[in-house]
């Protein structure tokens, strides 16, 4: 990172131990990858300084997808923020919903019903699977293995179909609400989900057979994009990328939220912190998510799906339609937004790529006074120049993929 401030064009040549190892005196080339580039997720621009194919300097320029998420949220009601959180990590939107809802609930001191907690876990884990499927298959794509991509998409879309049945939209789920979730599960949904999970596991198995032990993949991913455990922590890595470096930190275990403490699942941990470990980490977590979802269905009991605190939750529709009390509460909440008690809170969940935190400040009004997002991808993207230093250009792409930077959340 010390190099960040240097001018890219005058990086001194790496000193060599013997004259034979001395780098061939060559002119360095500056190549712009992005902001529009097939492998740049979203619209990140990487300025890469190449010596031949070797990266000798790299700078990232982000902001092409910046939509002013925080500013926008400061000007809508607490509830209206939900659709915007959908668009943070758009592959796994419900986890963003849940994280944000938990931040608001922390401010309100609101307890949500157990069923809602289970539903949040189920949907979160399903979306985690979507995210991981996207990642592993996209890694295949970016290494050039198209077939893997399609297999992964097939599995992901099946899961998305189930989520559509639940929340009414494929991608922009907008599912969680302050105090609960928006809908209960449809008839027979659980059984359908389990069948979908079977299919997804089948696809994951095929991806595994196509990729994992293939020497080309191992060569391309093992030992590339390495970040040590200490560096990963120092950079603030979380989630699979941190665990791939050997640090078994998982928010679901370290500070269990929702009902994660009642669920039996394990945390896979890698050793090398390279692309291969990060890829394997996702493959393992697919299996763990599968376990969690199945357990949730076994444990979940019927009940309310949203808190009944009238200050924060819209009254049930019958009351709105039929009684003045309901109508007035309904109007107050929608006109002015939920009046979240003044204060500040930081809530964090284990999103697909790591700790997703929401720092919410309320001034007691109907809109967030401040809403900060700790997007997990931020830290990993930040570390990319260091990770890539001295590696080859071709490694940049899979590394970019396995750290799984999602433009939506990083650029907010």
């Amino acid at each position: 990172m010390a190099k960040e401030s240097d001018n890219l064009l005058v990086v001194p040549p790496v000193p060599a131990e013997s004259p034979l190892d001395a780098p061939f005196p060559s002119k360095r080339m500056l190549v712009n990858l992005g902001p529009s580039h097939p492998a740049m997720h979203g619209t990140v621009r990487a300025v890469v300084e190449l010596d031949g194919e070797t990266i000798h300097g790299m700078k990232l320029d982000i902001g092409f997808l910046h939509r002013g998420f925080e500013k926008t949220c400061e000007n809508v009601t607490w509830t209206q923020v939900f659709p915007y959180t959908d668009r943070l990590n758009y592959v796994s939107s419900i986890m963003n919903n849940v994280g944000y809802a938990m931040a608001v609930e922390k401010l309100c001191g609101l307890q949500i019903p157990e069923r809602a907690q289970y539903l949040r876990v189920i949907t979160s884990e399903l979306h985690r699977m979507c995210d991981h499927f996207t990642l592993v298959s996209a890694m295949g794509l970016e290494l050039g293995a198209m077939t893997v991509l399609i297999y992964g998409m097939e599995a992901r879309d099946l899961i998305w179909d189930r989520l559509t049945e639940l929340c009414g939209a494929r991608l922009t789920s907008n599912y969680a609400r302050v105090g609960g979730v928006s809908r209960d599960v449809p008839e027979g949904w659980g059984e359908k989900v389990e069948r979908t999970l079977d299919r997804a596991a089948e696809m994951a198995d095929e991806i595994d057979r196509l990729l994992t032990r293939n020497r080309i993949v191992i060569d391309r991913t093992r030992g590339t994009g390495v970040i040590s455990r200490a560096d990963a922590i120092d950079y603030g890595f979380t989630g699979p990328c941190l665990r791939a470096s050997g640090e078994p930190y998982d928010v679901r275990k370290a500070s269990p939220y929702l009902v994660y403490d009642r669920l039996d699942f394990d945390v896979p941990v890698g050793t090398n912190g390279d692309n291969f470990d990060r890829y394997l980490m996702r493959m393992e977590e697919l299996k763990q998510s599968d376990r969690i979802v199945r357990q949730c269905f076994a444990q979940m009991q019927p009940g309310a799906i949203a808190s009944d605190d009238p200050r924060f939750v819209l009254p049930p529709k019958p009351e709105v339609y039929g009684t003045i009390e309901g109508a007035m509460a309904h109007f107050k909440i929608i006109m002015e937004g939920i009046k979240v008690p003044a204060g500040e809170a930081y809530a964090y969940v284990e999103a697909a790529n790591g700790e997703l935190g929401f720092y919410a400040v309320s001034d007691g009004g109907g809109r967030p006074y401040k809403l900060g997002v700790r997007a997990p991808g931020w830290n990993m993207l930040m570390a990319l120049p260091q990770i890539m230093e001295g590696h080859m250009l071709a490694d940049l792409i899979p590394t970019f993929d396995t750290v799984n930077m999602i433009g939506g959340e990083v650029e907010q």
Binding site: E70, Y235, G343
Partner: protein, 173 residues
């Protein structure tokens, strides 16, 4: 959760830590004077009882109208001890400068750039004090409460760019 850490911090820096309290939902918060932030952070990272080794999430908030106007917030986590702490540093509008903690945690880099970009809080000793999201010619700091919602940025005239990364902006020069 980590009231002990909070206590220790308070004992170690009786002057710099002006106040500690338990925030909503049990978050532990310490208000720290802005002059001491680097020192406090280094202590928090290195003290064997603290070990807040993971790079903090740094953000800011603009409490326009109150003094100090800005509030820089550090969310810290320790992987070794599994505890968390939040530092809040008041930053006055007249002198929005803080010591950078990037030398302590590499991961603080972009968050500090973000605070500069969005709130105009400068971090002294930051290795790469550029804006993060906005372009260098951007006028103002968008997340300040007095930044107009419906304003328009001036157009940047087309010109030759010698330094392809920084662009022709004021700090790119």
């Amino acid at each position: 959760m980590s009231q002990a850490a909070l206590q220790k911090l308070k004992e170690r820096f009786p002057d710099a830590v002006t106040e500690t309290y338990a925030g909503k939902g049990g978050d532990d918060v310490a208000l720290v004077k802005k002059e001491a932030i680097a020192e406090v952070c280094r202590f928090l990272k290195e003290d064997p009882e603290m070990l807040f080794d993971m790079a903090p999430y740094i953000t800011a908030a603009d409490y326009m109208g109150s003094e100090p106007r800005f509030d820089v917030v550090y969310q810290m986590y320790s992987t070794k001890k599994n505890h968390r702490i939040r530092l809040r540093v008041g930053v006055p509008e007249s002198d929005p400068v803080l010591a950078s903690v990037t030398p302590i945690w590499k991961g603080a880099n972009w968050y500090e750039r973000y605070c500069w970009d969005m709130y105009g809080i400068r971090f002294e000793g930051h290795p790469d004090p550029r804006r993060l999201y906005m372009y260098e010619e951007f006028v103002g700091h968008p997340l300040r409460k007095d930044y107009s919602l419906r304003g328009r940025q001036p157009l940047v005239p087309e010109r030759t760019v010698d330094e392809p990364f920084r662009g022709p902006g004021p700090t790119g020069g």
